[in-house]
Symmetry: C2
Subunit: 143 residues, 2 copies
DNA sequence: TATTGTTATACTCTATAACTATA
DNA sequence: TATAGTTATAGAGTATAACAATA
């Protein structure tokens, strides 16, 4: 029943706008060869500092073996470093390498540049609405 | 808008809110076993009707062989149907099966239910801001 | 014995190259 | 010859089960 698609509720309008904008922003990246999974790990390390493998796996809601593979790729590319923990030698500390930080910063710069240009096309009133909504929506997502 | 520092901050806030909300909403799904790639195809068929393989691949910005595999899985699960086009027998029409439509509707229902509850916690003024922002942001994402 | 990380194995999604069937 | 779809092959990300090292 295609007619039901015309009935756009407030919630579905927010859902559609969120997914479409996220998809558009995700396309702006410093490196085509970098997967979402890899970038998410780099961004997590940039925002929250070094993690053990287990901590990274939990943050990304992924299994430890899966995270191990992703970290293997990032390490091979020189984006992260792996060092055994001195206090507990079972643990491995995974930290952002300079090349990894550069990727995060450049990707964020590109995404914000795209958004900046898009926002510049709006009226002052619309920009104010978007700015306020960003604060409100972030509160909803993290409550 | 001359203040470029304020502009960057505004863009960053929109970017973070968008990614966090999208991630939170994506977690609400009818079936754990369904991947994002599979669900995106079903949602596209639901919104825009039957597609050829090539059309689906272009819509999802994926190669034809990759889409062929995804469609194979969806067909094996009974979520889509494949029928040879009568007018041009090289083409295959891929359409949403009832079971596939049920998955889309249930996932959308869960996501909107989560969002409705979240929006219900807001003041009327904040809700109005979010509703108006949804329209504005969707315009930006699809321009 | 419990925890941390890794390896073994398998399935999905991604790609490019090459093939078949049809126009 | 050109187009639509599929198959062949390979790499990355996902999982669970099993293992080694360490606490």
């Amino acid at each position: 029943m295609p007619d039901s698609l015309a009935t756009v509720t407030e919630a579905s309008a927010v859902r559609l706008a969120t997914f479409r904008l996220a998809r558009r922003l995700r396309a702006e990246s410093a490196i085509d060869a970098m997967s979402d999974a890899q970038f998410s790990v780099l961004a997590g390390l940039r925002a929250h500092g070094p993690h053990t493998l287990r901590e990274l796996a939990e943050r990304e809601r992924v299994s430890a073996p899966s995270m191990n593979r992703t970290v293997n790729g990032l390490e091979a590319a020189g984006y992260v470093t792996r060092t055994t923990d001195d206090a507990d030698r079972r643990k491995v500390n995974i930290a952002l390498a300079p090349a990894g930080e550069a990727i995060v910063l450049e990707t964020v710069r590109r995404r914000d540049a795209w958004l900046e240009e898009a926002l510049a096309s709006l009226s002052d009133a619309d920009r104010t609405i978007v700015s306020r909504a960003a604060v409100i929506l972030q509160g909803l997502a993290t409550r």
